[in-house]
Symmetry: C2
Subunit: 531 residues, 2 copies
C-alpha cells in the first residue's frame, strides 16, 4: 500500500475516467432553507466549470419560472461542462427541460420515474405497466430533441431488481445514453449496492454499452462509500454535490469522491478530470451562498481536515509529512493563496488580485467592489484573498429591488434591554425610520427594520459564521424570514456582526416581498423533487 | 429488502452485539480548538452512560494533570460503561492510565504502538524488534494491574500485514482482551480493509478468541463505511465519536454507526446496545461543549437530516411515511420533548423538568439555575426543553476562578465606530473598568475586557450558533483566546449575542490564565496523541 502524493490534475491517462455529475444546483438547492437566485446559481455554475466537473445539473426547469430562467442562463453562459435539466416523465416536464438547456453547446435532459412499489403505489398511485409506458415516452420524447439523455429509475435500491431492469431496458431501447441508479432514501449498504448493480448488468447486458451512473444519499452516512462501491462495480459517473448538500442528509460529497479517487488512483486505476485545487474555493462559495456551514471536521474541506492537534502527530508531521498526512492541503486549494492587499492598494491592484482569483470585474462592478474594499481596508490591517472572495461574492449578489438599509444605531447593555433605531429605503420610494427595544441587539435591529418597513416578518433561521480568521475577521450572517407565508433568504458580510445581520435581514425581506409579488403570477406550478 | 421501522432499543437478542467504544473524550477532545475541563468531561461521560455506550475512552492520563484528573473523576463517578484510559507503551504511561482508571468498577487500559515502517522509522525512530518488545512489555504491565487490556497496532492499514500480525500475536500472548485495528490516517478503502482484516485472521488464528475492534478516520469520507466493513469482516467493537469529531476530519461518527446497524439489523443480524433516543441530545451536548457545530446536512443529527424540502418528497411523506423516510425522527430523540415552561413556572416545576431531562439539581445549583431560568423567562414567552438544556449546560460548567463580567455597555452604529465599556472583577480581588472603540461591537467588547483585565489577549477562534429556534432563540458563542502562548476556551449562552460573547470571552481569559499558572508546575509532560 503505497502512499503516493497526489498532484492536483491527473498526469496519467491510462486510468479509467469517472465523470463527475454535479447536482449542487438541483438536489443541493432542494435542501431546506436554501434559495439561490439566478445570479448566485450562475456564479456557482461558473465555479463548477472552473473546477472541471463533467456535467452540471443546473435545475428542474418545470418547477418555477425562476428555476427555468436560471437553467437557461447557465446553458447560455457557462462553457465546458454538459448542462443538464431535470424532468419527470411528463411531456411538459421534458419540454421545459429542453427549452431551458437547448442553448447550451452540450445540452442534456435527465428524466426519472420510480420503480419501487412503495413509490409506485403510495406516491405515484399507478401501476408498473404505466411506469414502463411513461419511461418509454419520456426518453423517446427527449431523444427527439437531443442526443444526450439520462434516465433514472428512482428509489431503485428499494425496488425489485427485475422490474427495475425491465424499465432500464426500455430506456435503453429508446436511446438513453446514461443510466443512473439512485439510492433515493440513502438506505443501501456498499455490499448490497454492489450486488444490486452486478445483478442489473446480468439482467441488462446492453447496460455495458452506455454510461452507468450512481446517485447516493447520506442518510446512514454511506453516500460516498456506496458511490465508490458503484464505481468499483462498473459505474463511470458519480452524481454528487459540493459540501454534500441535498435533500435531508444530502448527497455524496463531491470533494470526498474526487479526493478519494485521486488519492487512491494508483490502487484503483480510476480518476476524475477535476482540478482539485479549486475544491476549497468551490466549497466556500457554495457554503456562503447557501448559508450551509461546513462543520470543522468535514473531510477534505472542513477547517480542521488538515489540522493536526496532537503532539505525537505534530511531531510526526514535522519529521516526515507522510506520517500523518495522506494528502497535501495545497492539493485541494488550501493555503495556496497568500495574496494580501492593504488600505493603500489602488483600484488597479484590486482588479489584478480579483483577476488572479478568477473574477473579471470592470466598470461599475469594479467601482462598487473598490468602494467596499476601501471600507474594509480602513478597518483591517490586511485584506486577504479570503476577505476579497467574501466581499466580491457579497457584492455580486443580484440586487433585489425592495428595501435597503440606510443606517442603524444600537445601544446594548447588561443593565437594560437593547434599543435599536434604523432607517430603511422603501420599494415604493422614500425612506422610513423605525425603533424597537428587543431581547438582544440583533433582535432589536430586526424588529426596528420590521417597524420601518411596516411588515410583520417572522425570523425562521439565523446563522452567523466567521468568513476569515483572526481578531478582525469578516463575519457573515444568513437569515431566512417569512412574510405572509412567503420566505426569503439573505446574507450579509461585514466586520461588524450587527451590520452584517442588518444587511442580511433587509435583503431577505426584499426577496420575500419579491416572491409574494411573483406568486400571484405563478399558481399551480409543481414543486421541485428528484432522485 | 424490507424497510423495517426501528424501535429505539433492540427487541431481538439473537443478533450479534457490536460494542460501541466511545472516544469523544480522547480522540475527539484532541481536535484543534477543543479544550474540555473536568466538569464538562464528566457531563459528557454521564450522558454517554445514559446513551448506553459500552466503553468510554475517557482520556490520555499521562498527557496532563488535568486530563488525569478528568479520567479519574469519570472512573469514580460514572457507572455502567467500562472506563478506559489511553497509554503509549512506556511504563509511566501505563502507570498513569492505571492510576486514573483504577477506581472504576470496570476499568480498562488501552495501549498502542505503531507497526507501519513510516511511523517506526520517521516518528518513533526505532526498529521493528524494539516495537515488538515495547508491545509485549506494555500489555504485560497492564495485565498486572487489571484484566481488561486493549492493544492497537497504530497506523496498521499502512503497515505490512505480516509484521502487524506478529505484534498482535505478542499482545495476545501477554493477555490482551481486545485487539483494535486503527486506520490512523484515514487512508484505507472498505474492500481493502476487509482484505486486511481477513488476512489478519488467517495469520493470527487466536484473534478469534478475543474481541476485534476497528478505529477509522474520515480523511477520505469513509470512516463509517470502513468501520462497517470491519464489522462485516468480524469486528465486534467500533471505536467512534459523537458528531464524528477527532483528529483532522475526525473519527467514525457514533450516531451513524449506531443507526446504520439499527436500521439494517434485520439484514445484517447485528446491533448495538445503544438507546438511540438519546442520540440527538448527546450530539447537542457535545456540539455545545466543544464549540464544534454540526452541519445542517450531517446524517442522523444534522438539523435537516429528517427534513424534506421537495414537493414530490413532501407529498410522498404525507401519503406514506416510508416513501422517503427510512428512520423515524423520534427514534433518534428528535421532536420527542414538548416540555415547555413559562415565566410563572416555579422552582419546583423547574426541578421536575430538569429531572425529566436527566439533570439532578439541588441546593445552590438549583438556585443558580432558577435565577438564570427566570432571567430568560422574562425575555422569552416559552422556555423549551432545548433552552433549559442549554442553560443548565452553561451553568454546570465548572467556574474557573479568575475574571468575571460585572456589566457591559455598547453603542453600535453604521455611522461611527462601535464603542464599548465594561467592568470586570479581577482574580486578585476588586474590579476594573475598561473601554474601547473597535471594528465591530463584539470586537470592541473583547478589547474593552482586555483593557479592564490589563491583559494582551489574542482572539484565535470565534463561533456563534443558535441553540434554539425562532425569533427569541438562545445564541451561543464559543471563543478561544491566547495569552502569552497559553490558550483558553470559553462558551456563553444568552438571548443577547453580545452578552453571550462577553461571558464566553471572560471565561476563556480565566481558563488561559489558570493554564499559565499551572504550566509553571508542569513542564516536560508529553503532548496528547493516539491511534
Amino acid at each position: 500500500m503505497s502512499n503516493s502524493d497526489s498532484p492536483p490534475v491527473p498526469e496519467r491517462t491510462e486510468q479509467a475516467r469517472v465523470r463527475i455529475f454535479d447536482t449542487t444546483l438541483r438536489d443541493g438547492e432542494q435542501s431546506p432553507g436554501i434559495s439561490l437566485n439566478r445570479q448566485e446559481k450562475l456564479e456557482i455554475a461558473h465555479q463548477l466549470a472552473r473546477l472541471g466537473v463533467d456535467i452540471i445539473e443546473a435545475g428542474f426547469p418545470i418547477t418555477s419560472p425562476g428555476d427555468f430562467e436560471a437553467v437557461q442562463a447557465i446553458a447560455r453562459e457557462v462553457e465546458g461542462p454538459v448542462i443538464c435539466g431535470l424532468a419527470r416523465t411528463s411531456k411538459q416536464d421534458v419540454d421545459a427541460a429542453w427549452n431551458a438547456v437547448r442553448d447550451s453547446e452540450r445540452p442534456c435532459i435527465h428524466t426519472f420515474i420510480s420503480t419501487s412499489d412503495i413509490h409506485i403505489v403510495h406516491q405515484l398511485q399507478t401501476t408498473r405497466e404505466d411506469v414502463k409506458g411513461q419511461a418509454r415516452a419520456a426518453v423517446a420524447q427527449a431523444k427527439q430533441y437531443l442526443e444526450d439523455v439520462e434516465f433514472s429509475p428512482m428509489d431503485a435500491t428499494r425496488a425489485e431488481v427485475e422490474f427495475t431492469a425491465e424499465v432500464i431496458q426500455i430506456a435503453l431501447e429508446e436511446g438513453a445514453t446514461t443510466i443512473n441508479i439512485p439510492d433515493t432514501v440513502g438506505y443501501t449498504m456498499p455490499q448490497e449496492f454492489t450486488a444490486f448493480l452486478g445483478r442489473l448488468y446480468e439482467l441488462v447486458p446492453d447496460l455495458r454499452d452506455v454510461v452507468l451512473s450512481v446517485h447516493c444519499h447520506d442518510d446512514l452516512g454511506l453516500a460516498v462509500a456506496n458511490s465508490f462501491a458503484g464505481v468499483l462495480a462498473g459505474a463511470r459517473q458519480v452524481e454528487c454535490a459540493v459540501n454534500g448538500i441535498g435533500e435531508r442528509a444530502g448527497n455524496a460529497s463531491l470533494e470526498e469522491i474526487v479526493m478519494l479517487l485521486r488519492t487512491r488512483r494508483a490502487d484503483i486505476d480510476m480518476d476524475t478530470g477535476v482540478n482539485s485545487t479549486e475544491l476549497a474555493r468551490t466549497s466556500r462559495l457554495v457554503s456562503r451562498l447557501t448559508g450551509y456551514q461546513v462543520q470543522p471536521n468535514k473531510a477534505i474541506v472542513g477547517r480542521n481536515a488538515f489540522a493536526h492537534e496532537s503532539g505525537i502527530h505534530q511531531d510526526g508531521v514535522l519529521k516526515e509529512r507522510s506520517t500523518y498526512e495522506i494528502m497535501d492541503a495545497t492539493t485541494v486549494g488550501l493555503k495556496s493563496n497568500s495574496l494580501v492587499l492593504g488600505k493603500h492598494s489602488g483600484r488597479h491592484a484590486l482588479r489584478d488580485a480579483l483577476e488572479e482569483m478568477g473574477f473579471q470585474l470592470d466598470g461599475q462592478a469594479l467601482n462598487t467592489a473598490f468602494k467596499r474594499f476601501k471600507e474594509i481596508a480602513d478597518r483591517k490591517k490586511q485584506v486577504t484573498a479570503m476577505d476579497l472572495e467574501a466581499l466580491v461574492t457579497d457584492e455580486l449578489r443580484e440586487e433585489i429591488p425592495g428595501y435597503a438599509l440606510e443606517w442603524f444605531e444600537v445601544e446594548a447593555s447588561s443593565r437594560r434591554p437593547p434599543h435599536a433605531r434604523v432607517s430603511v429605503t422603501l420599494p415604493e420610494g422614500g425612506s422610513a425610520e423605525g425603533s424597537f427595544t428587543g431581547d438582544g441587539p440583533i433582535d432589536a435591529v430586526f424588529r426596528a427594520i420590521n417597524a420601518a418597513a411596516s411588515v410583520e416578518a417572522q425570523l425562521d433561521e439565523f446563522t452567523i459564521g466567521a468568513v476569515t480568521e483572526g481578531q478582525d475577521a469578516l463575519g457573515e450572517v444568513s437569515v431566512v424570514v417569512e412574510i405572509d407565508g412567503m420566505s426569503g433568504a439573505g446574507q450579509g458580510v461585514s466586520t461588524d456582526i450587527i451590520d452584517a445581520a442588518a444587511r442580511a435581514y433587509v435583503r431577505a425581506l426584499s426577496v420575500a416581498r419579491a416572491r409574494a409579488v411573483a406568486s400571484a403570477d405563478a399558481v399551480g406550478l409543481p414543486e421541485p423533487a428528484g432522485p
